[in-house]
Amino acid sequence: MHITLKVWRQTGPDATGRFETYEAPDISPEMSFLEMLDLVNERLIEAGREPIEFDSDCREGICGTCGLMINGQAHGPQRATATCQLHMREFSDGEHITVEPWRAAAFPIVKDLVVNRAALDRIVEAGGFITARVGSAPDANLIPVPKESADAAMDAAACIGCGACVAACPNSAAQLFTAAKVQHLNLLPQGQAQRWSRTQEMVETMELFFGSCTNYGECHEACPKEISLDFIAMMNRDYVKAMLTNRQRDGQKKVG
């Protein structure tokens, strides 16, 4: 295959970037998209030009490190697929492919196609955990968890934190990511004690960095794990309850 690539090049966070065009002949359809970029880089290095920086690690769609805007779609044209699992057979010979980094205020560009997604970690640090001191856990079978709840929690927990939801959202909202994180824990019996503080803290931290959800649904389409929009609705519901419950708990704190 012969591919013409238009790739965003930017030397640093504050530099101005621009598209550069590269011809990529002799591409095998069996290659993954990132292997194609590896090859382009190999040829650039041979020609004495700096290779294109892009992020990737596990290359099996689970670590969430990779993520490119390919022809205007987060992770490219194949549904439920992270960039690393996208293969060149999804494209046609002679195709022009535009590759751009994720863009959002909270994801500053580090270099070329690499962005800094630290904001997602800040959301988790705000409350995306169950505080369970090592050593204090009861026997795992002490609390039965209805299979349905466990499965739903797992559906949410499948999120790989790649940021495609933010990248794809016209508002750069991180609702799908946050909702997945919140609901994974809120759906489980173990997560109930911190449910309301978690919900409030995580939502409010999310809003420090990202845009708001206006229910476009682009995030779900871009999500390599097809996380459902229903989790967003569940989070919205939990958020109001959290506002009320946390007020009540504040009151309880003052008692006695």
Partner: protein, 640 residues
Amino acid sequence: MTLTLDAKIPSGPLTDKWNNHRFELKLVNPNNKRKFKIIVVGSGLAGASAAASLAELGYEVEVFTFHDSPRRAHSIAAQGGINAAKNYQNDGDSVFRLFYDTVKGGDFRSREANVYRLAELSGDIIDQATAQGVPFAREYGGLLANRSFGGAQVSRTFYARGQTGQQLLLGAYQSLANQIREGSVTLYNKMEMLELVVEDGRTVGIICRDLISGEISAHAAHAVVLATGGYGNVYYLSTNAMNSNATAIWRAHRKGAAFANPCYTQIHPTCIPASDEFQSKLTLMSESLRNDGRIWVPKAYDDNRPPGEIPEAERDYYLERKYPAFGNLVPRDVASRNAKLVVDEGRGVGPLKNGVYLDFADAITRDGRDTIEAKYGNLFDMYQRITAEDPYDLPMRIYPATHYTMGGLWVDYDLMSTIPGLFVLGEANFSDHGANRLGASALMQGLADGYFVIPYTIGGYLSTFLGQPPLPTEHEAFENARRAVEERTRTFLSTKGTRSVDYYHKELGKLVWDNIGMARNRTGLEKAIAEIPALREEFHSNVRVLGSGDSLNSSLEKAGRVADFFELAELMARDALHREESCGGHFREEHQTAEGEARRDDENFSYVAAWEWKGPDTPQELVKEPLTFEHVELTQRSYK
């Protein structure tokens, strides 16, 4: 001076060792804990769990990872599950049975005391993970489900769909996040440790490069914990992540930490075969697939018919034929070696004839498509995305690939290396798996190390340093180390050769795979020992690293890692050459039975081979830690 290895195995009966030891270890008073600073390098299962639990105890913890988020460590990719001797299935499991299976599975090349402790702690891990909200698979009654995995004859594997590693890592990462929020852990991400700093014979800190700004900085602590994962990427193609590397442990090795059993590497039988020369990594298909899939190749050589057209009588279900008792569920090393045998014979399948079939047709006929889909749906989807073939119709094609490295830095029972104050956890150490690791045991080991071992054992070491602050980073030990790192970086950038880092990594990988891979022999190993240094020389004089050192530069990062792989590969070859026996993942063609099975030599090789660094121009020296077995009987593994 030659090192002496003291494993510090506690006295007393096997079942009481850990308990007694915990009592004997000196404690650090709660108020004093915060005066101790601990650096944890690595945020995988081992690192994240260690950092979180040490911080809970009150130590001041700093975590370093080259990943952008702790959650991206390669533990995330583990699919199959985690073992624990809970005996929830009432099928006869026990701590002793898990212990026994692990020692036997490791081909009797591990320490009894360590493995027993691991088995003892296994249940606590499941309790801890469940309390953290890890969504393990459940039965309809709401209790935990198990499956049998990797040839175990009891169902002791806990799992979360095909994403167990992901879920366990998220659990550990979330605990870490909790501690970051509390302010007891400081996270340094996108920071790669490039040197260990040792002063006066003990560990005082590390040198790191900020991968985004290129800044090189020194960090001091009372103790350093390395949990930096395995070195499988020395093969270039492996199931490890692109960035997994051995630099942290190799740098520590060069500073005096003995490296144990480097030749023990595990080749996983069920990976998707490479599709072309540009293949950048191999993808694992969970071992659980072997529970229902049947492995076969055509009986005829060079059979080009599509699988559906090969009649039953012309297929060779070679594992079922050779190992009637275990069939397709033989341990990994046996399954891998047999796949290599048939492919080398010319009976491989697929366009490059580099695979064997893993066929679900019978299982689908027997259980129905829905059942198979419920069990393996996500794996089948993944296979289809990668190969564009539908495993419901066509048998999968699989081939072995490097997957895990049992070798690693030598540690004693307290997980401390031969450099005082340097602790090593998870895949980075050599501890519990001997010469071969059983499926679903790495997650168990990483978490046992992090949650339940290091929080106790590190206290014993630290308690002797009360009142001493960490060495200031202005100290010349740090200055020298920092300058050395800067110098190394500069050298790569100024070499201005003609070939990329990846080119050399691939060349090295081929050498290692061909000669120190699934089956080894003297000629091949000697060839490797002769050729690796030559290639390394060429690498150092001809590598081309473009760009600068003061911004993100992945070629530069890779250059340092590949340089270390070169040295490690040579040690692997020497270790493999010296071990004149076959055991576990180390199969020497000279040492096999008439039927082609591995032949151990317990008389002469029942020891841990620890290698001590002797300087860049002198080969490492072998130091042996003898292994004694009191509770298991050394038998030849047989899966017939």
